[in-house]
Symmetry: C3
Subunit: 180 residues, 3 copies
């Protein structure tokens, strides 16, 4: 493995919400992601958190900066994945990625479908920009942990394959899978 | 919610079939969709039904007209989703849509897979053109109700998010889900 | 049916692997596909097997040649479906195909997910180039038979719809489904 075991992993957390960015309501999605990661990761990491409106250019600039300048190995977004006019997170994610990992969206929707029939309205995807994995999560805090519980066991292996830092999880809470 | 409760919902029903459009056999798919909707919807609606050949330009014109001129909040197609040369419904749907809702195709294929292994040959998708939701269904009448039963619980909420008319279903038959 | 019952089916088997193509290790994926097909098919067929590096131009030329010149009704690839920089099989497959059959990738990932959480890292797809069905499989030999067992029941019907040769399977081992 080329993964680096001594590097602090930078993880971008992006809340995409017109109303949260204007302060009209409190951002709950970003902190929910932060808390989930803090409860699971035992290797060193630091968060780069940001709250932005549902704006294509701003989201694109944010994702590019987190990947290319901040060198985040992982960027997680929350919000903007629905069918409404202002929801543009998945298409911007697709536009900045070199590769799309269809399985993330498929698995997250199939998990969310067990709770709500409207899971099929979520267009969330995941993809890779150079050495960064970008994952879209829905906006609802309840759905955030369901989705992360489902996909995160594959995330450390993916970041290994991108030659990023070696993420370690608390195995009592969530076991990362690395094929032997 | 911005949804309008007093507006009659227009729903487009498009049968895409060379043979049905030439009268070589009776269109069964379109009437199957109409009957399913008539059995489920209790709010006011009217159908705009049309039978066309498997022709890219004709399907594209039909979808654009149903969305932009007729102002259908929902357009449902049947036929043309397979792997054969003349099957072009999904690519034309993708071409006229602003957003693709991957979850509809995923769910419909996973449901159809319980009945026939060839469900994976169906390329059906759903997407949004401005304020209209377009859903592809397979051509076989038996598969039409399986697919509508699976995805329709999410349709009224989707049309709410597109600021369309407020669709109500007979809850004894099919419960529309609207997150609280 | 337009399928031809007396034609020997040509099936392309493409191992995409830098290391196997340099002889640094033995190609296990290609032979695993060949052995699986030999155990299942009872109609006449012949393999066109090739081992190539993870190179976009070489894979593109290989797929085009197998479809357009060799007239393979089916081309199966193994390898190059992961998230790493050199993994380019799905994007090249998409580039040479006229239609994508999303259901193949969805089903293969959902089957592989029962064995390994990292199945969501596999970007494998299937698609059609003119009269040829192209299917990506993962690189790991163990996953190859899991994936073929899942999707192959739909393959003979797909090749019928593309007007290719009539594939017959040993029904004691795997039953091909052809809707009546």
């Amino acid at each position: 493995m080329n993964s680096k075991t001594n590097i602090i992993a930078k993880i971008g957390i992006v809340t995409v919400s017109d109303r949260a960015s204007r302060g009209e309501y409190q951002d709950l999605g970003g902190p929910a992601i932060h808390d989930w990661l803090a409860g699971v990761l035992v290797s060193g990491w630091e968060a780069v958190s940001i709250v932005i409106p549902d704006d294509k250019a701003i989201l694109e600039n944010t994702l590019v900066k987190l990947c290319d300048i901040e060198k985040c190995c992982l960027v997680i977004t929350t919000g903007g994945t629905g069918p409404a006019k202002r929801d543009i997170t998945p298409e911007v994610t697709e536009a900045v990625c070199d590769k799309i990992l269809y399985g993330f969206g498929e698995l997250m929707r199939s998990i969310s479908l067990k709770f709500v029939p409207t899971a099929i309205l979520s267009r969330q995807i995941a993809g890779i920009r150079q050495q960064s994995l970008i994952i879209n999560l829905p906006g609802k805090p309840a759905a955030i942990s369901d989705c992360l519980n489902a996909v995160f066991p594959a995330v450390p292996c993916c970041i290994d394959l991108l030659e990023g830092p070696y993420l370690q999880t608390d195995e009592k809470i969530l076991k990362a899978f690395r094929p032997g």
